[in-house]
């Protein structure tokens, strides 16, 4: 079973249906027992970094997510969920993140369109099980802040938007995607499928 961590941020319907279409049972979970027993967990999220961390702390799901990450089972942060994996975010003042990946989340600055919204091309920077059998292509982004990993080896894929923008990160069993794989056509679904394969469950 795949747990989608439900901490009151955003619509989880699309991601849950996408997982089911890939042949895995998905549940929205906000209790420790369900999350810890899942074969893989997804930390979704849209909205503001500070609000999201506040919700996670209020529900105790910040600790549960850290424990899940420490269990060695695959964890995937999507969009804001990816940003929360980092040490800190600067949205509306500095906020501590989950601290699972060293680095910070900063606002786009420049005379170009913000948010970075639309289809942009991935460039794979490292070998990763997520890229198994896949070619680089376009995925769908919507974000005004972007992550700056401290360590190059955690940066798995980038996209080009007036600079290199972090698109996929990973360390051991912990992964993050800045774009929405569930809204990114076939490539998005394949990336999600490759992540789900890490749960060790055969496709139904």
């Amino acid at each position: 079973m795949i747990a989608i961590i439900d901490y009151g941020m955003g619509n989880l319907h699309s991601v849950s249906k996408a997982i089911e279409r890939l042949g895995y049972p998905a549940v929205l979970a906000s209790d420790e027992e369900t999350i810890m027993s899942a074969d893989a967990a997804i930390l979704p999220g849209v909205g503001a970094f500070g609000d999201a961390m506040q919700n996670l702390r209020d529900t105790g799901l910040d600790e549960v997510t850290r424990r899940y990450a420490a269990s060695g089972k695959p964890l995937l942060g999507i969009c804001l969920g990816m940003q929360l994996l980092f040490t800190s975010g600067e949205e509306h003042g500095a906020n501590a993140g989950l601290g699972l990946l060293p680095g910070s989340v900063v606002r786009f600055e420049g005379s170009y369109k913000i948010p970075h919204m639309g289809w942009n091309k991935l460039e794979f920077r490292q070998k990763s099980p997520l890229f198994e059998g896949l070619a680089e292509g376009h995925v769908y982004f919507v974000h005004s802040f972007h992550a700056r990993p401290e360590r190059d080896e955690h940066l798995l894929a980038t996209t080009d938007y007036y600079q290199h923008v972090t698109a996929i990160v990973g360390r051991d069993n912990i992964y993050g995607m800045q774009f929405h794989p569930e809204k990114s056509g076939e490539l998005g679904m394949q990336l999600l499928a490759n992540f789900l394969k890490l749960s060790g469950r055969p496709e139904a």
Binding site: N11, H13, S14, G47, P115, H180, K183, G185
Partner: protein, 252 residues
Amino acid sequence: MLAKRIIPCLDVKDGRVVKGVNFVNLRDAGDPVELAATYDREGADELVFLDISASHEGRATMVEVVRQTAGEITIPFTVGGGIGHVDDMKRLLRAGADKIGINTAAIRSPELVSEGARKFGSQCIVVAIDAKFNPEWGEWEVYTHGGRNATGLKALEWVKRVESLGAGEILLTSMDADGTKDGFDLKLTRAVSDMVSIPVIASGGAGKIDHFYDVFEQGHADAGLAATIFHYKEMTIGEVKEDLRGKGVEVR
């Protein structure tokens, strides 16, 4: 850099697609969910549903269509038509829509744009504008109700206004070009695109493959929207993209 987007638009009334859609191999050509999934497979970058239901029941049905569509497709989609309150936006976004299109309601109460942007984020708010050239003014005027009612608003002033209110995107339909198949209104599209820094989706007039290249290169649009030509299979989204790619335009 961002790819230029090709967006089919589906008119939905009481949960059914209207305006003849000519797809073969569909179990039910009037089913918006099945059509949406078909366009997704054909490479559409986004979809727009325009709800033209006149009744409360019809609009309630649309929420269910949105819910089912969100579970079936893998691309973002916008829902517009008959949205007059923040509660309507919330209902549709919760059901799985990615963006909400507002037109007449934004003109009637511009605070709806700012309120929606504040609550859900600018990226969720698409302001749809129907514009028509007013020869007396020598510029474009905003219309409502499918081009029937003139508002007295200058289109180029209105787009600036909605941008400052927090709109995330503009869906610009030329009433002069709509239905002609002679191509998008390049002058209007360019004037609007150059006026604002939010993305502009050009609509109305697409009839040939070249028209998409023109609206991106000369009209400076970020996306091109069409209905009839795709519904009637006059061209496929794949063909449009192949043409654009061949001319050096980045597409997915």
